[in-house]
């Protein structure tokens, strides 16, 4: 996989997802359940604003000093015995990764869930070279054997499929004879993957966060596959996005405290592994060699842009769970590896406007994501700014649209003005009959301003994503 996950034009893609009522129910249930758990977890933690301000400040500080911390991390990791390789782009990263595996004559690799390896298309490169790659996260594994279906959420990848579907897939592909009870299917997969763990030549992982001061890489999982991948194979290859770094363990405390609560509403995940170098000489398990591949792949473009702070992201998926658009179209509707508000803010600058200007229209600019982001990324301001740039660069259809978007920006960019405007519009009537608005509405209707404001409606929204 790469950043692009669909070739369908936006409208067709959205129609397809909107027509999938089973998916919409599943996503709506997931949002309600996980949002409830997250809110409870943070209520117990207390001082959410203080926590996220601290977390956001830490991430921002790292970005401001990223050259320093990358330098420090590489030196410390190397001193601990790891091999560190800096890769400018996807092809450098995958070529180097493949080279490691081929030099060790590896025929099988086990992998724990990693977004950056998806982003650079690692599995495809290894498989083309004849190396079997086994995803070991349960959701990823089920998607992999389901003819490489694509994840619809960055934390819970198989949200869009139900138990009957997976029973059928397991029966067809792996000879499963049991029922559709998740526990039974999970046990069956446990047995299958356990053999793979013990027989694999190489373990491939991502890195949730690296610690600059000690050269440590970390992995967070609930299933224990992260521990397995870093225990059984003799070679471990870690891929990490270049921004995924914290200065010391003190900051890791804050970031991990936010990550598990935001992602799954837990205080911590079942397992967090902190690995510094390969196993020591006298240790009997764990990797004999540890390779860390640090990937840029467009991140430096983001770093130098006005969108730098989107690199604060800790990949918790909260913005997706809170997003009303995501609720209806799932991760698949975006056609990008990183969906939801994060995807709309990040992907246009990470991978360029040429391919990703249409998707910025998915957002309704309701701002719900901003309220929950644990590192305070100004997501909807960024999405709006993308739209403004696209409009000003002449990529939107008409001059009239540019004018409208420009004015709209002045209003929506200010929450006070936006509140006043939407409140006022409900009794004043708002119909574009002349000027730039008229031109804008030639090929589309300006929607009536609804009786209830979206912000108010969203607070008391319906269950089940409106699916019948």
């Amino acid at each position: 996989m790469t950043i692009k996950t669909s070739d369908l034009p936006l409208k067709e893609r959205l129609q397809k997802e909107l027509g999938n009522s089973q998916m919409r129910k599943a996503i709506a249930n997931a949002q309600d359940l996980l949002n409830g758990k997250r809110e409870a977890a943070f209520a117990e933690l207390g001082d959410f604003e203080q926590w996220r301000e601290t977390a956001g400040t830490i991430r921002s500080h790292v970005l401001e000093n990223l050259d320093y911390y990358l330098n420090q991390f590489a030196d410390k990791a190397s001193a601990a015995g790891a091999h560190v390789y800096f890769a400018e782009d996807a092809s450098q990263a995958t070529r180097y990764g493949l080279d490691i595996l081929q030099k060790r004559k590896a025929i099988k690799a086990v992998k724990s869930k990693s977004m950056v390896t998806e982003e650079i298309g690692l599995n495809e490169v290894l498989e083309d070279a004849g190396i079997e790659v086994i995803e070991t996260d349960l959701g990823e594994y089920l998607l992999q054997i389901d003819d490489h279906d694509k994840p619809s959420h960055i934390v819970v990848p198989a949200l869009h499929k139900n138990r009957d579907h997976f029973r059928k897939v397991l029966a067809e592909k792996k000879g499963y004879k049991g029922d559709n009870v998740p526990e039974n299917m999970t046990r069956f997969v446990r047995q299958l993957i356990r053999k793979e763990f013990l027989g694999a030549d190489v373990g491939i992982t991502g890195c949730n966060f690296a610690v600059a001061e000690t050269g440590t890489v970390t992995l967070v999982t609930n299933e224990g596959n992260g521990r397995f991948v870093t225990t059984a194979p003799k070679t471990q290859v870690v891929f990490m996005g270049m921004e995924r770094i914290v200065p010391t363990f003190a900051e890791l405390d804050i970031i991990f405290s936010m990550l598990a609560r935001s992602a799954v509403g837990a205080k911590l995940t079942s397992y967090m592994s902190l690995m510094t170098g390969p196993r020591s000489q006298d240790e009997k398990d764990g990797p004999e060699e540890l390779h860390i591949i640090i990937v840029d792949n467009g991140r430096s473009k983001v770093l130098e842009s006005e969108f730098r702070e989107v690199l604060r992201c800790i990949r918790c998926g909260t913005c997706m769970l809170e997003c009303p658009a995501y609720r209806h179209i799932s991760g698949h509707g975006y056609g990008t590896l990183y969906p939801g508000p994060l995807g709309l803010a990040l992907v246009p600058v990470l991978a360029g406007y040429d391919d990703y200007k249409e998707i910025t229209k998915i957002c309704s600019l309701c701002g719900a994501c901003n309220e929950v982001c644990p590192v305070k990324i100004p997501l909807y301001e960024f999405i709006f700014e993308h739209r403004r740039i696209i409009a000003e660069e002449g990529n939107l259809t008409t001059a009239g649209e540019k004018v409208v978007m420009g004015r709209y920006g002045d209003v929506i960019g200010s929450s006070t003005l936006y509140g006043l405007a939407t409140k006022a519009a409900r009794f004043s009537g708002f119909a574009p009959k002349v000027g730039p608005l008229k031109q804008w509405s030639i090929d589309r209707d300006l929607p009536d301003i609804p009786k209830t404001r979206f912000r108010d409606w969203f607070a008391g929204r319906e269950k089940n994503g409106g699916a019948k």
Partner: protein, 225 residues
């Protein structure tokens, strides 16, 4: 070994509008100190009570005993679960406890750095119960902290179906903050530090929680002291 660093970091510096890496990072001041508030004034009993409650909430079994009874407590638990057993070679578990276990359990392997990787891992894979000792425990998240070292393989608490982790009552601290402070003070870090906060679990199929995916199906703590 490091490859490609200079060019890569020069580009990152360029993105930050400078030509070289700063001598030291810009000053960082924590805007708040809320992480130190949690159970800051708690007594040892409060820490223990919170730890136990939080452990039970996430399905971790709890046993408590005095140091002198550790051996018999372990034997009782293991007899309920069945062998074989693999043990970390920890002072708390070695000596009399190991001897006692050796008498009572047919197949009891103490992790041994003097024999090969295969033998240790095969024993761990075949074991029904794996037993190790935590360096520290955290009340807020019911976490146990495990260091890997030659006498304690990563496999001990990963491969067997049941995981038993011994926790010294005085090692229970408020939260992750204190664990990270302890790691900050380490002169050399172990190759792997594992924070265990529950049994292996997933919710990947319809968000239904299933306990026991790749790691142990059951996790229990024995609190000593």
């Amino acid at each position: 070994m490091i490859t490609g660093k200079e060019q890569f970091i020069a580009r990152v510096s360029g993105c930050l509008n400078r030509t070289t890496v700063l001598e030291k990072p810009t000053e960082f001041i924590y805007p708040h100190d809320m992480q130190h508030n949690y159970l800051a004034e708690a007594s040892a009993q409060e820490l223990l009570d919170t730890f136990v409650t939080n452990a039970q909430t996430v399905g971790i079994g709890i046993h408590q005993c005095n140091a002198t009874d550790l051996g018999t407590t372990i034997i009782q638990i293991v007899q309920g679960l069945g062998g074989p057993v693999v043990l970390a070679n920890d002072p708390l578990l070695a000596g009399e406890t190991a001897e006692l276990l050796g008498h009572e359990i047919d197949d009891c392997h103490v992790w041994n750095p003097d024999v090969g990787r295969e033998e240790n891992m095969t024993k761990a894979e075949g074991a029904k119960v794996g037993i190790a000792v935590a360096e520290m425990a955290l009340a807020e998240s019911a976490t146990s902290l495990l260091f890997s070292y030659p006498d304690n393989g990563r496999s001990v608490t990963l491969l067997p179906e049941n995981s038993l982790i011994v926790i010294r009552v005085e090692s229970i601290r408020p939260r992750l903050t204190q664990a990270m402070e302890m790691l900050l003070e380490q002169e050399t870090l172990p190759s792997s530090v594992n924070f265990v906060s529950g049994p292996s679990s997933t919710a990947d199929i319809e968000l239904v929680r299933v306990q026991g995916v790749h790691g142990p199906l059951e996790l229990s703590y024995i609190i000593v002291g």
